[in-house]
Symmetry: C2
Subunit: 279 residues, 2 copies
């Protein structure tokens, strides 16, 4: 596979082309000259981890991330044990796939709970159990702060600073952080936190922030250029902090999902070159 | 007007009962035993500032805030001049109404712009022009950080810390900040920033954060108890910081707006006593 040097660090997150199976997404990346892929556990499970690992290896692709573990906020013992068990499985899968990291979306408030502080504490407690397990398997956990609009129902981890406060209790090779433009672009403190993060940055994900937000706010992620984010300063900051990994395009968007995936990849490449790589 | 001592600091923000005119809202507060009201400029303009001032004075109500000035991010000279002129008018109105503060929603990115840093700088520049004007008229400007989901289209001021960074360039009696539970509840740094704010807190607004967010995310504000916010810790923190002003209930919500306003006030009082005042 020949790769345009400009695309040497570009990665397709599988959810961007969610109608594609792992095999189709791998083929699509090869056709488009994209050298890395971010995999999701559900489509991987459809063919099994060994088959998925073979597909990406045979195609010569890097696995920039596995999405995702997390959901660590259950307040009851059974829920907590189930979450830890599932995360250990996810870590094993990430190891088998040689993924650069396992992305963790930490989970929201349990149904009916208003104890945000307690939920955040449970994430820290769970991480203390999972980090050594990940370390032993050579897997890096990547804590993803999500946009504060998801704090109640998806991730009580809301800023890069908060993610670093958590991560810094562990060795950098065990626990890193995700910088996702959609989630952090608004944060006046993000520049300082990216410097602070340094090589804790385990994943750099990009997509645009759209307005008006769609009825399902999870789908407000847009193709670069369709929203409000100025990408080059964030790319440069992450790079200056020491991040040398892939730049993963992750878009949840009904219109993108309705488009022919090969066309999505073509647009994504053009926008990446024009709007992300420019200085 | 006899006021239940538990309601001594309760205020109705007029938008909560948006179908009511100023006269109706004032009467409604008196009927319900609510001693303060947050006015909006548009309904005030319908009867004129002097008439509105007379209504609240005759009823013996305090004006806890006037909503709102701001929208200071225009990048062109004409837009900037128009915004400054409108804000000076709003300051004059706040003075005439003896409002405890003029709430400023600072504005989002101008159409097509991705220059977030520039927009934030223009807010600071405009504030430097408006603060002395407000000071001369005994009006306190109250910078309102809005939830980060509104950063692109409504307010580039996204956290209490950022609001304080701006406010602290001016005397505390000229520029304070708003703490609105809906906008700040998710912020892991809010506790530290409330302490830092101290008597810079010019307004304390409450309502709940609902999920799923409605199609128009501006209307995700709910009646206390209908969402995810734990109110007493925030009320106590604001109080411990030295805030002695009113607690203003501001709800933008289609269902609340469709309900008989007298019933809304009754619910609001019950929830305030049960869910906000409790320790």
């Amino acid at each position: 596979m020949t790769v345009d040097p400009r695309l040497a660090r570009l990665s397709l997150n599988q959810r961007t082309t969610q109608r594609w199976s792992v095999a189709q997404a791998v083929d699509g990346c090869v056709r488009a000259g994209i050298p890395a892929i971010g995999l999701w556990r559900e489509p991987v499970a459809e063919i099994g981890v060994p088959a998925a690992a073979r597909l990406v290896t045979d195609a010569g692709l890097r696995v920039s991330s596995l999405c995702r573990g997390g959901f660590l906020t259950a307040a009851d013992d059974a829920g907590r044990a189930a979450a830890l068990a599932d995360n250990r499985r996810a870590i094993d899968e990430a190891a088998a796939l040689s993924a650069a990291c396992l992305v963790l979306v930490v989970g929201g408030l349990p149904p009916g709970s208003r104890d945000l502080r307690g939920a955040r504490q449970r994430v820290a407690d769970a991480l203390a159990e999972l980090a050594p397990y990940a370390g032993e398997r050579g897997v890096r956990l990547a804590l993803e702060p999500l946009h504060p609009m998801y704090c109640a129902d998806r991730a009580v981890l809301s800023t890069l600073g908060q993610a670093l406060d958590l991560a810094e209790a562990f060795p950098a090779e065990q626990v890193g952080v995700v910088v996702d433009t959609f989630h952090v672009w608004w944060d006046p403190d993000v520049w300082r936190q990216i410097v602070r993060a340094g090589t804790r940055i385990a994943s750099f994900q990009i997509c645009d922030f759209l307005t008006p937000l769609p009825a399902d706010v999870l789908l407000g992620r847009g193709m670069m250029g369709d929203g409000h984010i100025d990408f080059p300063p964030l790319r440069r900051a992450v790079q200056a902090a020491g991040y040398t990994g892939d730049v993963e395009v992750e878009i949840f968007n009904a219109e993108v999902w309705a488009t022919d995936p090969d066309r999505v990849l073509a647009t994504m490449i053009a926008r990446y070159v024009d709007l992300v790589l420019t200085d």
